[in-house]
């Protein structure tokens, strides 16, 4: 059993401590916006915020997140208002299949929190999520739009 604070709410989660945070979130807590893509921290589909840091949840044991504030895609909007990254994603019609986009959005939300006006080089260095549909051109445009929103 581990106690996790997810999107501002405490959950007693019945998992072994070494269970990846991703699967505790998906299978036990039931929040499925955080996706499984590779399980080895390569693709970024499982990106969540752990104490504000974009983290690949597939490779973090749930026990390592105890006592920290976890935010998933379901918790990104505040008070029913979409995060500016989500809004920009809608305006620019970024998603194609959409499967990787929750992780991409979480990674971008952290980038903008630390660098409110990122350059293209900042984007290139920070956003390393895989998207097989190839939405990167729209991703870049939407990041700049969100930064200027």
């Amino acid at each position: 059993m581990v106690r996790l604070n997810i999107n501002g709410q405490d959950h007693n989660v019945d998992v072994e401590p070494d269970t990846p945070l991703l699967w505790a979130i998906r299978d036990n807590v039931g929040l499925t916006g955080t996706k499984y893509g590779c399980g080895i921290a390569q693709c970024g589909a499982c990106t969540v915020h752990v104490d504000g840091v974009a983290t690949r949840a597939c490779s973090l044991p749930a026990s390592a997140a105890v006592g920290k504030k976890i935010v998933t895609i379901e918790g990104l909007a505040q008070g029913g208002v979409l995060h500016k990254v989500q809004k920009a994603w809608i305006d620019h019609e970024v998603p194609q299949c959409g499967y990787c986009q929750c992780g991409m959005i979480m990674a971008v939300a952290e980038l903008l929190a630390t660098k409110p006006k990122p350059t293209d080089a900042d984007i290139d260095n920070t956003i390393t999520n895989i998207c097989r549909c190839g939405t990167f051109q729209q991703v870049r445009a939407a990041i700049h739009a969100a930064a200027n929103a």
Binding site: D27, G37, V94, G98, Y99, R132, C133, F136, Q137
Partner: protein, 727 residues
């Protein structure tokens, strides 16, 4: 308005079909709005359109959505002919079980071969037009005025004397009228909804985590499973020690699936995976465990000069032209195995009882999934159903192949009444693919004394997809797989784009044991590299400009020429490039669309930077230009990931690469700027597809630019094998 429910035959059938599915057994499905759960009271106007009393228009979509925008495009076409208020349009998927019960009124469900829109636009537009005519007639009857005096616009019918009724008000009466057959369609020039960059359905759910992919499905009392097939293709399970893992946390069942796989069912997926990883399994690897990439390459190489080969395109006498050539140019190319790597790993959820088998699955072909459910369950069609979910990527992996559906049903059969979600690990997805086939190619070109290209022999040697997947098609063609010649075929939707006086394109079929599949673009990927890189080689061999050289051979291919000219002009071909920048070109006709690309690259040491791509596409009509723009840009991510990074290596009969660490995919830093030119020519004849054609020009345009930069011709792939990295 007092709406009186009506129980006509059509709506009754669909209403009960849906009720017999998820609704009746009390499942609270989170995606109910997308499934055809029309109530018996909802009037159906023909098979494509349902209009509710509140004016909501539900368009039925048989094809699948996997990011390519088909559901939005098809709904636009229906709404256009219906004269609908787009803000009131939504969609639903009629289930494959309903399709069977109603004798396939929605025709094909297959969503591959870039055919979602190009092969169904006519009948779905007719569906919209018929529904409009029914509404007009209903109004005419109600008002007792000639139908010709009425006008349908924006979901409202108006008539003489200020008469006015909404579609919702007329739908019930309209649904009782006969469905007009083959109604006249609008001239695309007058389109107001189709042809416009309308926002696609579903984006809000995709950015908030609400969209339920197959991997996300939750059903009451559901268990989770994961599976491991014999890593050597054709191998079998010899033995496994279930007792070793039976007491691991959450494990419910450890079982053999057919003779070839083992699976674990557990409370959570992680528990299933941990137990499967720990499960001791001994495999009977069968006869293929000595096969390697090197042995396969040797087999293919022998085919390059083999006597027997199937002909895909021929005119004149290429061999004689080559024999009498003043100058001869020869090159051998090779294309590797590649995996689709959909971001969402393969999955299906099945619930089986002796009386009913239901499956929830992200599928490119609901009917193929349905067939797999019938085969695996052993139940008749009326006791089976498939509920389609949107796909986290498809790319050809989730259409013809329903291996995961078959597995899920077989597992669920062992636990009657309990829904089981089977989700593959990424590792399983990598080693149990249906791979882009391997192909080698020997190109020989012949010139006369005036440097005219007099002959070309393109000898393919490698794997046939259809011999493995549709053997009956190959048999009917006397052993030939015509699909092998996509992009270089004698005629049709993949017709060769050049006129060469003496031409021979033939294929020595060599089929290794690795299962091949339809990988986005299918055989145009390698064929476009072979032909378009070799055209560059030929041009340079006679010191001619690659564009001018091609143009001389394109006289009778005006649409190929048009897209090629468009990219050449926009990239600035013939004008000085910025310092250090070099350019390359490619074009092809594929899936009835004409596509071209021009690339700008720079090379520093072993690093190649792809700066800019100009891509042109002529799909005849552009139903949603914004989606085309995104599909075209994305095609360069898919195509260039393959070019730079991707090879599935075979060793000891199995695939070596098991995840993204050894099978990489492009990131945003490597993404070139893509400028797309949509050239909807409106030419007569069949429409072209969008999802696949552009992929094939990505690699050759970049390779030709790389040659322009370095003078080096790379002829085997991926480029990482030549220590060329994308920057």
């Amino acid at each position: 308005m007092n709406f009186v429910p009506k129980m006509n035959r059509r709506s009754f059938v669909i209403g009960t079909a849906a009720a017999g599915g998820g609704l009746a057994i009390g499942f609270d499905l989170p995606f109910g709005s997308k499934l055809a759960n029309a109530q018996a009271s909802t009037p159906e106007l023909g098979v494509w359109v349902v209009i509710k009393p509140d004016d909501t228009i539900v368009v039925r979509i048989a094809r699948s959505e996997m990011g390519q925008g088909t559901i939005t495009g098809l709904a636009q076409l229906v709404a256009e002919e219906l004269e609908a208020d787009w803000s009131k349009v939504t969609y639903e998927y009629p289930t494959p079980g309903q399709s069977v019960a109603r004798k396939r009124p929605w025709q094909s469900y297959s969503t591959g071969g870039s055919r979602g829109i190009r092969e169904s636009h006519e009948y779905v537009r007719q569906g919209g037009a018929s529904a409009r005519l029914m509404l007009l007639q209903a109004a005419a009857n109600q008002w007792n005025v000639p139908v010709g005096d009425l006008k349908a616009e924006n979901s409202v019918i108006t008539g003489p004397g200020g008469r006015r009724a909404t579609y919702g008000q007329l739908a019930d009466a309209a649904s009782k009228l006969p469905v007009p057959e083959k109604p006249a369609l609008k001239d695309p020039k007058s389109w107001k909804i189709a042809g416009k960059p309308i926002k696609r359905f579903g984006t809000q759910d995709k950015v908030t985590g609400k969209q339920v992919y197959g991997a996300d499905l939750k059903l009451p009392n559901m268990l989770n499973a994961t599976i491991k097939e014999s890593p050597v293709f054709g191998g079998k399970v010899k033995s496994f020690d279930a007792a070793k893992v039976a007491n691991m946390p959450g494990v419910k069942k450890v079982l053999k699936v057919r003779d070839t796989a083992v699976a674990v069912v557990a409370d959570t997926w992680w528990h299933a995976k941990k137990a499967l990883d720990a499960l001791p399994v001994e495999w009977d690897e069968g006869p293929n465990n000595k096969v390697s990439s090197a042995t396969i390459a040797e087999t293919l190489k022998a085919g390059l000069d083999a006597d027997q080969a199937f002909v895909g395109n021929q005119n004149g006498d290429a061999k004689a032209a080559i024999a009498s050539a003043v100058k001869k140019v020869e090159a051998v190319y090779a294309y590797p195995y590649q995996n689709h790597v959909c971001m969402e790993p393969m999955n299906a959820t099945a619930r089986y009882t002796a009386d009913r088998c239901e499956v929830w699955v992200p599928t490119q072909d609901g009917e193929a999934s349905f067939a797999a459910v019938l085969a695996a369950s052993g139940l008749p069609a009326e006791k089976c159903e498939v509920y389609k979910l949107d796909l986290g990527g498809g790319f050809g992996r989730r259409g013809a192949f329903q291996d995961y559906v078959h597995q899920a049903v077989l597992i669920a059969k062992e636990m009657p009444g309990t829904p089981v979600k089977l989700l593959w690990s990424r590792e399983e997805d990598m080693v149990q693919g249906r791979y882009h086939p391997v192909m080698q190619c020997k190109m020989v070109g012949a010139f006369d004394k005036d440097n005219n290209l007099t002959g070309l022999h393109m000898r393919l040697s490698g794997q046939s997809i259809l011999a493995s997947v549709r053997p009956q098609v190959v048999e009917a063609d006397k052993g030939r797989d015509a699909l092998t010649f996509q992009g270089v075929f004698q005629s049709g939707e993949h017709a060769f784009g050049y006129t060469i006086p003496n031409l021979l394109v033939d294929h020595a079929m060599r089929n290794p044991h690795v299962p091949p599949g339809f990988w986005r673009g299918v055989n145009i990927n390698q064929n476009c590299i072979f032909i378009e890189c070799f055209m560059d080689e030929l041009a340079h061999a006679v010191n001619q400009d690659p564009l001018a050289f091609r143009r001389k051979l394109l006289g009778s291919h005006p649409r190929n020429l048009a897209v090629l000219n468009a990219v050449a002009e926009k990239i600035g071909w013939g004008k000085p490039a910025p310092q250090g920048i070099h350019r390359g070109l490619a074009h092809m006709k594929a899936f009835n669309a004409y596509v071209a690309a021009a690339a700008e690259v720079s090379v520093t040491g072993d690093k190649m930077k792809v700066h800019r791509i100009v891509a042109a596409t002529d799909p005849t009509y552009a139903v949603n230009p914004a989606q085309i723009d995104r599909q075209v840009a994305g095609s360069f991510v898919y195509g260039l990931s393959a070019l730079f990074y991707q090879e599935c290596t075979v060793k000891d009969g199995r695939i070596v690469e098991t995840n993204f660490d050894t099978y990489n995919s492009m990131r945003i830093a490597e993404m070139p700027k893509v400028e797309s030119i949509i050239m909807a020519s409106g030419a007569p004849g069949p429409w072209g597809g969008i999802g696949e054609p552009t992929i094939c020009v990505a690699a050759p345009a970049v390779l030709n630019a790389y040659f322009a930069a370095t003078g080096k011709r790379i002829r085997s792939f991926p480029l990482k094998n030549h220590n060329v990295q994308i920057a």
